[in-house]
Subunit: 106 residues, 2 copies
Amino acid sequence: MENKTTPTQHTEMPDLEVLFDLADLFKVFGDSTRLRIMVTISENEMSVLNIAETLNMEQSTISHQLRVLRQNKLVRVRRDGKQIYYSLDDDHVKKIIEMGLDHVLE
Amino acid sequence: MENKTTPTQHTEMPDLEVLFDLADLFKVFGDSTRLRIMVTISENEMSVLNIAETLNMEQSTISHQLRVLRQNKLVRVRRDGKQIYYSLDDDHVKKIIEMGLDHVLE
DNA sequence: TTAACATATGAACATTTATTCATATGTTCA
DNA sequence: TGAACATATGAATAAATGTTCATATGTTAA
C-alpha cells in the first residue's frame, strides 16, 4: 500500500520517444476486435479459426489483428500441425486490461 | 461443427458492450498528444496556454484534445478568471499510464 | 505428388481521427 | 462599454486504420 501524503513527490516526465511508444502500445488496446481477441485467448490458447468462430468474424480479420498483437509482443504463438495457437504473452497484458476495466466499470 | 465444449470457467468474459467501452478508453490513451498532456498535468494543474507552450503546440490542438479528455472524465477542470486549469482526474489515470510504461520500458 | 485445410498477406475501400485555420464564446479590467 | 486576453469550436484537410476479397504460403495426409 502506498502513502499518498508525500507532498512533493515528482515522477520524472518520460521523454518524448517513450511517450510515442506508449501511445503506440495503447493504440493496440484501443480496438475492440483486438481486445476481444485478447480476452478470448487470455485463459486458454486458441487457433486462429477457433478465435474467428468464437468472435464470429472473418479469419482474415483475425489474422490481420493477430499480426498487430504479435508485432507488439502481446501474444505468444505456437504451431501444432496445420494450426497455429495463440495465447496472451504474460500477465502484464491482462493487468493492463483489468486496470482499464476498473475505470470503465466504475 | 459448432459444437464447442464448455470452457473451464475462470474469469468471466466481459460482455461485448463493456469491451467496446474499454476500447474507447484505451483509444484516448493511444494518442501521443493526449498522453503528453496527461503527463504534463499529472503533478500540477495547468492552464491551456501553459500546456500548449510547454508542448510547443497550437492552443487549438490542445483545446481539442482536452475536450476528448474531458468527455472521458480523465481530467478535472477549474476556472480562475480568464484561465481554465486542467489536472488529472484521479490516480487511476496515472496508474494506467504507469502500467503501460512498465510494459514499454521493459 | 496432389488435395484439402489453416494461416498469412497485399490491395482496395470506407471510416475514423488529429491538426490547422478562422472565428465564436467567455472573462477581466480600463 | 470596449479592448485585450483565454479558451472553445466548426469546417476542411490529410493521414492512419480496420475490414473485406482474393490469393499466396505452409502443413498434413492420401
